[in-house]
């Protein structure tokens, strides 16, 4: 005799009838009209439904990428403020602002307007320093975020494309940072440009052409600041913004990786929903990053261009060096032996080209191909969703996972 089957009482209509419909709060009542208006036109509820309760796992290391994103937003906001007063021009003016030590000195419009921002525009110095600190934090957060991704194996299938987007973002971030600190046309930024001029020239075959095309003739000319300005405030931010959008869209599509633990399997993601917990945590964290950068801008001096003076191609400050994130290139340039070929009437500047352009290409090239090399070496082709080391992925492969 068969045991009686367990019965499930799914007839809860009686219970439902007794529960009165929940009264909506005042906010809902006020928002009801506009929300319906919008929903009738764009299908708001349908759009939001897949994301409203989307689950994100919780771990402090997941905040590194968020810091990068938020510092980029701070860069956009503070950058817009700076463009209101900055004049991207190398035309010469006599400085008559309130910084007495430089009054009466001939300098470029770019440098003079940077001094105005620092001394005469209320809040200008704060925003300038925030912008520079945010740039530092942006690059630092991207680099540490990439280390998190690397050491948790989160670059593996199916996330290789997102890894490549991330590598591109780091590369663009470095160039964007360089373009930015070259704009004020102070002695330090001009020295950086002088270096770039030497670097571009050193490219075999096309170097001189590239130099003349970038600078609009000989160094320094009068076009490099306006050109870098366009690159810095339009071209690169647009690219970075587009790549960030793609980066985030892919994170949403693939769902977040997670650390292993009870109940955390290869097929699920365990964590808190976007609303309300992550909206509050991530929104709050954005404001914390914004706030900390503002406090840094208020209390920690950075790039005091008035100390360096206007750019003068015959002068230099001792200890001139780029922002820290270009240090690996700068260091390579310094320790490189002085190899230079003089063949016929040509000069091949390996001493500048190899460490300058070669090291950067090598760094980003290795990062870019690593996921594919690793997949090839470990013969892995399964989708990995949580923390693993290559040796473990081989074992996962034999389990019930689909290809």
């Amino acid at each position: 005799m068969a045991e009686p089957a367990a019965t499930i009482n799914d007839d809860d209509s009686a219970v439902r009838a007794e529960t009165p419909k929940k009264e909506l709060g005042p906010v809902f009542k006020v928002a009801a009209g506009p929300t319906k208006w919008l929903d009738d036109r764009v299908g708001l509820a349908g759009l939001g439904r897949p994301f409203f309760r989307k689950v994100f796992p919780d771990h402090w290391s997941f905040l590194l990428g968020e810091i990068a994103l938020y510092s980029f937003i701070v860069l956009l906001l503070s950058g817009v403020f700076l463009t209101i007063w900055f004049k991207p021009s190398m035309s010469e003016v006599e400085y008559q602002g309130s910084y007495e030590l430089l009054r009466g000195i001939t300098m470029s419009d770019a440098y003079a307007s940077t001094l105005d921002l620092s001394f005469d525009i209320r809040g200008g110095l704060l925003l300038r320093q925030m912008h520079h600190w945010a740039a530092m934090l942006f690059v630092a957060a991207m680099l540490t975020h990439s280390l998190r991704i690397f050491f948790t194996g989160a670059f593996r299938k199916p996330r290789e494309i997102n890894w490549l987007i991330g590598v591109s973002l780091i590369g663009l971030g470095l160039v964007e940072g360089f373009a930015g600190y070259s704009l004020p046309d102070d002695l330090l930024s001009g020295t950086g440009l002088r270096f770039v001029d030497g670097l571009i020239r050193a490219v075999p075959l096309i170097g001189t052409w590239a130099e003349f095309f970038v600078f609009g003739g000989e160094f320094p000319g009068e076009l490099i600041v306006p050109r870098l300005y366009m690159v810095h405030i339009l071209l690169l931010p647009a690219l970075i913004l587009g790549l960030i959008a793609a980066h985030l869209a892919l994170v949403v599509y693939h769902k977040h990786t997670q650390y292993p633990g009870p109940g955390r399997t290869n097929g699920n993601v365990v964590g808190y929903p976007v609303f309300p917990v992550y909206a509050a945590k991530a929104g709050g964290f954005f404001l914390i990053v914004f706030g900390v950068l503002t406090l840094m801008g208020a209390t920690m001096q950075i790039n005091p261009v008035w100390v360096f003076g206007p750019y003068n191609p015959a002068e230099i400050t001792a200890g001139s060096q780029p922002d820290w994130y270009m240090g690996f290139v700068e260091g390579a340039i310094r320790i490189m032996p002085n190899w230079e070929w003089h063949i016929g009437s040509t000069t091949w500047s390996w001493n500048v080209f190899l460490p300058g352009i070669g090291v950067m290409t090598l760094f980003f090239g290795i990062m870019a191909i690593y996921p594919f090399v690793e997949a090839w070496v470990t013969a892995t082709s399964v989708s990995i969703t949580y923390w693993t080391v290559p040796a473990t992925t081989r074992r996962v492969r034999r389990s019930a996972l689909p290809p």
Partner: protein, 361 residues
Amino acid sequence: MSEDTTHGRPSSEIATVDEERYPVPDPGLEPHLPRLTDVDEKAADRATRQVATFFGLVPVLSIGFAVVYFAVPGDAYLDFGPLRANTRNLLLGLTFGLALLFLGVGAVQWARKLMDDREMIDYRHGASSSDDDKTYMLTELDKAADEAKLTRRKIIGRTLIAAIATILLPMVVGLADLGPWPTKKKRAETIERTIWAPGVRVVNDVTFEPIKPENVEIGQLVNGEPANLQDLEGSEYQIEKAKAAVIVVRMDPNTITIPPSRETWQIGGILCYSKICTHVGCPISLWEQQTHHLLCPCHQSTFDLGDAGLVVFGPAKRALPQLPIAVDAEGYIVAQRDFLVPPGPSFFERDSRNDFKRGDN
């Protein structure tokens, strides 16, 4: 874990069981442990007060920012021991920064202490599309190609590819005027020459005063420019200055090596070299008087001015170009001619056979 809220359905594409990785059966999610604020109403009240206080301070600080903006003058400074801060910058940043920070901290505290902290489960899906989708797309793509008549009239497809490839050409050609073309003639007029010419005086680079040999002491280094630089303005001035900058040094003739070919380039131990580093073009100016070494602060290339400007250390390859000098009728130092080789960093078309090399005379 029956009370856990789940979102979506388990995917059939990614298995949830991973018995080989975990020999022990997956115990499932750990039970939810209530926080103090979940069980103790007083703790929850305390957390509520904290959040409300953080939020409540934001308007105060925002108004404070506005007050500082209009009330604090720009030339007021605050001293903190050895540190000095612009009062307005500091207060604007403190009010705005703390307002942002408190808003953020309040929101995070709210989420951590008061919002429901039961974890939810989402099921993953494979990244690839379903077989159904793939089949549909392939069939429809085939149909679409037919409907566009591409399969019958192949010439359209072929010419289209050629058209798209060549439409880029105007965009590239349009950039050909980015700068002047460095042809052989152009190079000879620009990067391969400077404004030094026979009889041009060497002047101090700040005061533009000419220099007499008797005013230069042994061991002294003077930063110089050609006197005719003053005739230029704007970018032309900067371009020529970037190439023509020189250093004039006087060394004891008995302690230095002057190659026979350069015997007539100097005035009793006063030598003139390009100031622009042959590595990447920084102006070199760190002078070691006793060793006659000149160090570039950018990448530490070191040149021996007592030995024809040859490189003794660092990444630079070529010696510093030397400018032949003489004394004019009024007793001032002048150039005999332009540099024999282009000063500054290397470029591909640079003929570096005539640069001074170790062992040359």
